[in-house]
């Protein structure tokens, strides 16, 4: 079985995310199986896997979109299945497909999302201004989403996911479709959130160049977790020089 990637907190605080023995199947097709790991508060972890590895299914389970039938998922100690209200309150999500309404303005979109979390209008407008200023889009507040670039929309979606001040942020391939500069800017922004605000981040991607040496790494292949730990440890275990090499070995071994 896979061990904890980041380990339990020393002081006994619950991990930001704890996934234990999770399995999910679509009919006979098993999408994820025996997946277990934990994320420490404030850590940055990359969930690396090819298309079809089970990343989106795993995210759908963590966000309660799909019901977890086998295994257990807890967010800061709150079971997603048993106490979804408290669990989801700590969770911010950026989905793979863009989910902003094109016709609404940035302010309206943020207001809708804040309302879904039960925030008051005043709180929403204060935080919206704050978050937009932080991502350099303060002047776009009255603009329609449809007029923004792909990179800007992604940043708005991150701002939106942070409105209710979650301590765990999930991003499902957030850089898909972005140009190199937007990609880099987005990644920097999220890393800063993690470092400065202590938000735990789970970043799903199939792009190896988005990984840094200090990141936590989870390698998902054909629905199973093939490796977990720091980037250095995973590379060591595979006797590989870099993540690309380690990833190749892990996925090749499974195919054999």
């Amino acid at each position: 079985m896979n061990e904890a990637s980041q380990g339990q907190q020393q002081n006994g605080d619950p991990p930001a995310l704890a996934v234990e023995g999770v399995r999910y199947a679509f009919g006979r097709h098993v999408a994820v199986e025996e997946v277990g790991f934990t994320l420490a508060p404030g850590s940055f972890t990359v969930l690396l896997g090819l298309n079809g590895a089970g990343k989106t299914t795993l995210f759908s389970l963590i966000t309660r979109l799909y019901a977890t039938r086998v295994g257990r998922i807890r967010i800061f100690g709150h079971d997603v299945a048993r106490a979804p209200t408290r669990a989801l309150d700590h969770l911010g999500v950026v989905f793979q497909q863009p989910t902003l309404d094109q016709d609404l303005t940035v302010a309206q979109s943020l207001r809708y999302h804040g309302a879904l979390h039960g925030l008051s209008r005043r709180t929403i407008s204060e935080r919206a201004r704050e978050e937009l200023a932080r991502i350099g889009l303060a002047d776009r507040i009255g603009q329609k989403v449809g007029t923004l670039s792909g990179g800007e929309r992604r940043r708005i979606e991150i701002a939106r996911a942070l409105l209710h001040r979650p301590r765990l942020l999930l991003l499902d391939e957030p850089t898909v479709g972005l140009d190199v500069d937007s990609r880099r800017a987005l990644l920097q922004h999220v890393r800063r959130l993690c470092r400065d605000d202590g938000v735990a981040v789970l970043w799903a991607t199939h792009l190896i160049d988005e990984i840094e040496p200090d990141d936590g790494l989870l390698v998902l292949h054909q629905g199973r977790l093939k490796a977990s730990g720091t980037v250095a440890r995973v590379c060591d275990e595979q006797a590989a020089a870099d993540v690309a090499g380690a990833f190749q070995r892990l996925t090749a071994a499974a195919a054999a």
Binding site: F26, K55, L65, F95, L116
Partner: protein, 269 residues
């Protein structure tokens, strides 16, 4: 979670639906064409053929146009209810349903809010239809416009809940044509929308029985009576009962994972 949290959530969902309505005005106006065609053309043509004698709630002989108006009002609700619920099939696969469902509030509450928001938008269309019908000399009592409001809201919610329930079985949005043929048309024609039940009974007792059991009939009769400031208690009970039943089944059956399987075998990328 306090009551304020629930209310803010409802407010946000209704506001978004209202904004979308404003942005898609032409689509919503186009949806008015269907009942107006029935009113202006079908009803005018059939006026001479179908004599409608005095039935409750009417106190005098009425023109056929006046008889089918409540049926057409509920037809608007039926089409909208099916369409908006089926669009949730699409939303389920695209993003906006996910955004809604990751809210920490209970799923049944979120789906009910969504249904209510869609129903309120439908009511705007019904009142627009009534305004045009008024110009066509269909003039129910003024107070009736107010008393019909709760009847319309309940009917809209009931039909929307039915749509939501169906959407748990429909795998893809393209199946809307099937829903049209197998749900909307039979519900509409086997009801008291176009002809009074006693008339149906004269020609076919079996059809009469079906029509009496059809929830759509009860939505129409509830609306028809309310428009003339009367209450049809049986219809009210059926509509409320169906609303609760459909909603409960829809919430239990609602599974965002559905549809994915049919489409790709695995929902991953």
């Amino acid at each position: 979670m306090t009551a304020a949290v629930y209310l803010r959530c409802l407010g946000g969902i209704v506001e978004r639906e209202a904004l979308r309505f404003l942005h898609q005005r032409t689509r919503f106006l186009a949806a008015l064409v269907r009942p107006l065609v029935w009113l202006f053309i079908f009803a005018a043509g059939f006026r001479a053929i179908l004599g409608v004698s005095i039935v409750s709630p009417y106190e005098t002989y009425i023109l056929y146009e006046e008889y089918i108006t409540p049926g057409l009002m509920v037809m608007i609700l039926l089409f909208n209810g099916m369409q908006s619920s089926l669009s949730m099939v699409y939303d389920r696969e695209m993003g906006s349903m996910k955004t809604l469902l990751v809210s920490p509030l209970p799923r049944w509450y979120l789906l009910t809010c969504k249904l209510l928001a869609g129903s309120l938008v439908s009511l705007i269309q019904v009142y627009l239809f009534l305004a045009i019908a008024w110009l066509w000399a269909i003039e129910p009592p003024l107070l009736g416009y107010l008393t019909v409001l709760p009847a319309l809201l309940l009917s809209a919610m009931m039909l929307g809940a039915l749509g939501l329930l169906l959407s748990s079985f429909v795998k893809q949005l393209e199946n809307f044509a099937g829903v049209m043929n197998f749900v909307i048309f039979p519900m509409f024609f086997a009801s008291s929308a176009l002809y009074p039940l006693w008339r149906i009974k004269e020609s076919s007792v079996a059809l009469y029985r079906i029509a009496s059991l059809n929830p759509f009939t009860h939505a129409v009769e509830l609306t028809r009576h309310a428009l003339y400031m009367k209450l049809d208690p049986v219809s009210l009970a059926v509509v409320v009962g169906c609303l609760i039943g459909f909603m409960a089944l829809a919430v239990v059956g609602y599974d965002p994972a559905r549809g994915m399987m049919a489409r790709r075998g695995a929902p991953d990328a």
